[in-house]
């Protein structure tokens, strides 16, 4: 156990892309649990694109992190002291303790993990929020059917990789989009997507058309920007678009976007093709959690869903890893190892 505690706070609200000076690493005393509380030691910290939204003010589905507040984030932690009858020293829990080495909790929102069932880090990835985002977005909105074509960007990432593999389990053709030849090779050869397009290569629209000769029935929207503009003209009648993220636009949210204005053409496509666009966040579908865990654990055991983790070492690495995540520098589920596994 580390003898000192540390946290990373939001030092400033980023204008555009976050930069190092928007974060501040602070030492702190290891907190002391009060009555009913547990003391958690962070083992894994998850980094996810939604955190960019929490750094900015303005209306969203969640409150922003306050200036000088600890950056928010999902964690896997060990209970190292407990004044709570429901938790014992040594328990491993899924928590939401943020970017810090230690945290107190009254137990609400903690979920015990069984390290024998799956590596504990997967509770932040394929068996956690990103995997459930993929599962519920397809289950409730995308609904890929056999013979249909699904497209997903950030296809080597935590959500995108699960989306394509679940679509294939449903019998659909899965076309991924990813940044660079190495990621595309992984998506196609290791994850088994039917096709994967490099968004850094020129003329994405033409290659997308070629990769989807029967059009697109489901577009799982997690990036926005140029990919979305290339997808819209290829959507089939009655196509479904679960909207779960817009990573390409996160840094410019709130600013004016230069013209031409593409909204009228989008509205026309929605009308003429009878599209469904629906935004969601994973907690809207919390009722599906048991079904998700059952199905996803089965698919993992059967080898039908594969996943990959991208780990940086030490809490201090989180800001740079997060800035890289927003640019697609990660290759798989982005995690920070904050502390050692329990012995």
């Amino acid at each position: 156990m580390s003898s000192k505690a540390q946290r990373i706070v939001l030092a400033a609200r980023p204008a555009g892309e976050p930069k190092t000076s928007d974060f501040r690493l602070e030492d702190m005393a290891v907190p002391i649990p009060g009555e009913g509380q547990v003391l958690l030691r962070t083992i894994w910290l998850s980094l996810d694109p939604y955190m960019r939204g929490r750094m900015s003010e303005g209306p969203s589905y969640a409150e922003p992190v306050p200036i000088d507040g600890v950056m928010e984030g999902g964690t896997v932690a060990e209970v190292i002291a407990s004044n709570n009858a429901h938790f014992s020293k040594g328990d491993i829990v899924l928590s939401h303790s943020g970017w810090q080495t230690h945290a107190l909790s009254d137990g609400r929102g903690l979920r015990k993990l069984d390290p024998k069932l799956a590596p504990i880090s997967t509770a932040l990835g394929v068996l956690g929020m990103p995997g459930m985002t993929a599962y519920t977005g397809l289950h409730e909105i995308g609904k890929p059917k056999a013979g249909e074509t699904l497209v997903v960007a950030a296809a080597s990432g935590a959500v995108g990789s699960a989306v394509g593999q679940i679509a294939r389990i449903a019998g659909a053709r899965a076309v991924g989009i990813a940044g660079g030849a190495e990621k595309c090779r992984y998506v196609k050869e290791e994850l088994g997507f039917d096709e994967c397009l490099d968004h850094r290569a020129p003329d994405l629209a033409a290659r997308l058309k070629e990769a989807c000769p029967k059009g697109i029935d489901v577009y799982f929207e997690n990036v926005g920007g140029k990919v979305w503009e290339a997808v819209v003209p290829r959507l089939n009648n009655f196509a479904r678009v679960p909207v779960c993220g817009l990573i390409a636009d996160y840094n410019s949210f709130g600013g004016d976007a230069p013209g031409p204005n593409r909204m009228p053409a989008l509205m026309r496509a929605i009308l003429v093709k009878r599209l469904t666009l629906r935004g969601f966040i994973v907690r809207d579908f919390a009722a599906l959690h048991d079904a998700f865990l059952r199905d996803m654990a089965k698919w993992l055991r059967e080898g039908k869903v594969k996943h990959r983790e991208f780990v940086t070492e030490g809490l201090a690495s989180a800001p740079e890893a997060f800035m890289g995540l927003l640019k697609g520098a990660n290759f798989g589920k982005q995690l920070v190892r904050v502390g050692p596994d329990p012995t």
Copy 2:
């Protein structure tokens, strides 16, 4: 019965707003029914915004009217000669014979009307396609609930007036938008909407905010343009947007719209507020036709739904009436009386 027959054909594809020279009135011989055919004499012609789409080429859910082809449109007609065992001379039918005084039909797509049940013109309005568009868009997508707020534009028109009244039957607050004080008075005082805003008066966005103090849960989209831009910021979490028309944008479809680009902000709203946008056309929900007729006829009998017709006289009046419709010059369901009622 008229001794000569006439039709209006598409003379040219409009660039922007249709103009008189895009239409041509032609004399023709009264056609002679062949085996299995009936000869129809048009009594009522319906004019509807979707017809603007049929005048242009480019992808849509229906083929465009060919140059020199008869303009498309729903009609109520009398069978004046029949070589078809299913129809007799004197039958009144709902047809889709277009902008002409006479037409042949093999009987497919015709529906007999009972003039004793309701005025036959209502089969083109409140008991026809516009009424069913309102009914199905709310039933399948908008789903207004008691205590929620619905907004609809073109609120004095055939679709909009039904939308607001159906929403009120469901217990929702109905806020209309219409052009001019007289229409707004009608929408509020005669149709019973809770509020109606004049889109010609300044600062629609601020007045919309005031009229919807609890935000907007359902926006029935039939106009697009500036109204839609004013609505988006007011939509509540989980709001539903049935997209059934974009009359404000019809004349500019296909052209580039000047910036700023509002699509990223729209996608952000979809994500953050978990909106549902879904396009539809009435025939997607044909299975609801019996339920629609049953409910709407009951509401009409009970006085819960009122409607108004806006009639111009003679086939030759159709082009000008249609151009007026696109600008909101009509006041109620736009109809052309092409021929006299049967005697």
